[in-house]
């Protein structure tokens, strides 16, 4: 069987003509008219990429890689690394400035949930409208209609206008339509960051199903755990360039390390994050069992995480979660306010919370990463890697346990002894 490439990208580059961050804007007609007197050529808005606009910037530069048919490839990188731009170009939403890409097969893209939905139309009507916009024919949509509705779980509300749906229902229906696209190549952009956890799992399952049936998947995400699980290969983008591409575990670890060369900092404001931003994680301080600042996690000691949250709104019933995980993304232990009935109500301003992990038993000699979640039905903030921290020996007598990376990260006391065979 020929290893035909589903996606071939050569030297792809994208330059935006103006950068809103530094005050660039679309021309106004007035400006164009007054410019007309001085330079007739300026009237054409579609002028070439080497225009004299100094306010432009290169979002992507010289990206080249290939994706064989049926592979699931992840794309990771910080905010502004160019991941969304790459996806937009491959989805043909925008044109590249340089380079070339060749895609074999029908292209489906999920850049957003609810593309094409109109508030005044009913759920049923929106399924057809959205399906059509995403590229399905009327016949195809009719064929899959029942499965779409079943996946979304909103049978009884099919004929009410979508404006009456809760945000959860809306998302489920919107995703269901996109999930039943059956293209040869599927491009997904962090759509899965929405919805409740049950639904998220459904989405992941559906993506895995598509992957198994041979769909080529390109998945952009901040959720490194998911990327490692779903994708065999991952590409790392940084400031518009392809920095690394290879097996997911390797690339993800590399990304985390690059991310936190300044990992001792408490200040979280520079961390890549996702969420609606109504409240943000500002600081994370680590203290040891005695309440003194800790630069490392000590075996058998308590670990106290003090989180500073800056909120712009009042939010009731907020949940916080802390995940301590390996640098490859495997979770070691988690803490979740809902689980222990710790209720959080946020007020505008700065608030602090502490989570005290008791008798932490991690094997010394390695590093772990800390992930933070803030959630109230919608994700307010999620920082995949808030901090990287060393795990060190206990104070006083060293435990004597091996620090070899082959040994498991969690440490449990154990004892070996000879055993005489018992007689039957």
């Amino acid at each position: 069987m020929s290893a035909e490439m589903a996606i071939k990208i050569e030297g792809l580059g994208k330059r935006y003509r103006f950068n809103p961050a530094v005050g660039g804007h679309r021309k106004t007609f007035r400006e164009a008219i007054s410019g007309l007197a001085s330079m007739p050529a300026k009237l054409m808005p579609g002028r070439g990429p080497d225009a004299s606009d100094s306010k432009g910037f290169w979002a992507l530069q010289d990206i080249s890689f290939e994706v064989p048919r049926g592979e699931v490839i992840g794309v990771v990188g910080g905010n502004g690394a160019g991941k969304s731009t790459l996806l937009k170009i491959l989805s043909r939403v925008t044109v590249p400035t340089r380079g070339r890409a060749e895609l074999s097969g029908r292209i489906g893209s999920m850049l957003e949930v609810g593309t094409g939905f109109h508030q005044e139309l009913t759920g049923r009507e929106n399924v057809f409208l959205s399906g059509s916009i995403l590229g399905m024919s009327r016949a195809e949509i009719a064929l899959r209609f029942d499965r779409i509705v079943e996946f979304s779980g909103i049978e009884s509300f099919l004929d009410t206008p979508v404006k009456r749906y809760s945000s959860g229902m809306y998302i489920r229906l919107a995703f269901a339509v996109a999930a039943y696209l059956e293209p040869e190549i599927l491009l997904v952009d962090e759509v899965l960051a929405v919805g409740d956890s049950v639904f998220q799992r459904r989405c992941v399952d559906r993506m895995a199903e598509l992957a198994r049936s041979g769909t080529t998947l390109l998945f952009v995400s901040h959720n490194l755990d998911l990327v490692t699980r779903l994708c065999s290969k991952t590409a790392l983008l940084e400031r518009g360039r392809l920095v690394q591409i290879g097996p997911s575990t390797e690339v993800v670890e590399s990304y985390i390390r690059r991310l936190l060369d300044d990992s001792v900092e408490e200040d979280l404001s520079g961390r890549p994050r996702r969420g609606d931003g109504r409240a943000r994680f500002e600081t994370l301080s680590l203290l040891n069992g005695q309440g003194r600042p800790a630069s490392a996690i000590r075996l058998d000691d308590d670990l106290r995480c003090v989180i500073g949250i800056q909120s712009t709104v009042e939010a009731r019933g907020v949940s916080l979660a802390i995940v301590v995980k390996t640098l490859q993304g495997a979770k070691l232990f988690t803490s979740w306010t809902d689980e222990v009935g710790f209720r959080i109500d946020l007020r505008p301003g700065l608030q602090h919370f502490e989570c005290r992990f008791q008798d932490v038993r991690l094997r010394p000699g390695r590093q772990v990463a800390i992930e933070l979640w803030m959630y109230d039905g919608d994700a307010l903030d999620h920082i995949d890697v808030a901090r990287i921290v060393d795990v060190v020996e206990r104070a006083g007598e060293p435990s004597g346990y091996s620090a070899h990376p082959e040994q498991g990260p969690y440490l449990c006391e154990y004892e070996w002894s000879p055993r005489r065979p018992t007689s039957h």
Partner: protein, 300 residues
């Protein structure tokens, strides 16, 4: 029994072999590269996406008719009120009849094609800006958006035509054989309207203040189409004004539409010129749109 099992196994193996030997389905190849300069309009692609155009048009129609409390009656009330205004102010000057036809009917029959044109132009002109969410998230031929506007404008026209029919019955005016040419006028007006609308849509994306120019432009255009509300003999036959007015393809088209509806003679030459101009305007508008459309998602 063993023979039966063996037969089963053979059948399964044969099916498997057949599947493996199937040639792989040929896959469509998409090539993405920088867009440079003028690009042709890809009618093939538009045809493949025809269902989408219909869906977009249907969406606009459904939303319009669901949203306004007046619903369908808005398509009737607008031209009716305009007719009343014109009849009150202009009816006196043009005389109570124009070409043998009662003035209110005369002006109403002229307003219908005009409003179809104006809706198409203004609707198409603002359509791309209004579809920002779609354009930045999904691929489809962008021309589908303004094209869909002709859909709901046509529905409005159809609804208003019922009132026209009623008025004609009221005044006892019957259409002639010219009625058969109605689809032609409709197509020509649609082409002209879309051509202008599509061009405006592109300009609207490129220049963010252009949206304020559009209603003004449409208003001016209406005054430059005197055939809506007055007989041609009231106008200058030479000079700058005459030249400007004869460049307006809508003048003969409105007159032709009315003539077909009311059974009066159709002005030939002017209509023929407009008929040739319509596809040209359409193609030019689409070409300009295509040149700029690659950057829509970045700018909008």
């Amino acid at each position: 029994m063993i023979a039966a099992v063996e037969a089963d196994i053979a059948a399964i193996q044969a099916r498997r072999a057949a599947r493996v030997n199937l040639p792989p389905p040929t896959l469509s190849k998409t090539i993405i590269q920088p867009a440079k300069g003028w690009r042709a309009v890809d009618f093939g692609e538009l045809w493949r996406y025809r269902e989408l155009v219909v869906f977009l048009a249907w969406r606009d129609i459904a939303v319009r008719y669901k949203q306004t409390a007046l619903g369908a009656s808005w398509a009737l009330i607008q031209p009716f009120l305009m007719m009343v205004v014109f009849s009150t102010f202009f009816g006196k000057f043009s005389g109570s009849s124009a070409g043998g036809v009662p003035y209110p009917l005369y002006v109403f029959a002229g307003l219908l094609p005009w409003m179809f044109f104006a809706s198409t132009v203004a609707g198409a002109g603002n359509s791309v800006i209004g579809s920002e969410r779609l354009i930045t998230k999904v691929y489809f031929p962008r021309l589908a958006i303004p094209f869909a506007v002709a859909g709901w404008a046509a529905v409005d026209l159809a609804v208003a035509s019922t009132l026209l029919g009623a008025m004609m019955a009221w005044y006892g005016v019957a259409p002639g054989a010219g009625l058969l040419l109605m689809p032609v006028w409709f197509a020509l007006i649609a082409l002209t309207g879309l051509g202008v609308g599509v061009g405006l849509a592109a300009l609207n994306v490129a220049y963010r203040d252009f949206r304020y120019v559009i209603p003004f432009l449409v208003q001016l255009w209406m005054f430059a189409t005197p055939s809506i509300y007055m007989q041609a003999d009231g106008l200058p036959t030479r000079g700058l004004v005459h030249a400007a007015l004869s460049l307006n393809p809508m003048t003969p088209l409105v007159a032709a539409f009315r003539s077909s509806a009311l059974g009066t003679p159709i002005p030939f030459w002017a209509t023929a010129v407009a008929a040739m101009a319509a596809p040209v305007v359409f193609i030019l508008g689409c070409l300009y749109f295509r040149k700029v459309e690659g950057e829509f998602a970045d700018i909008v």
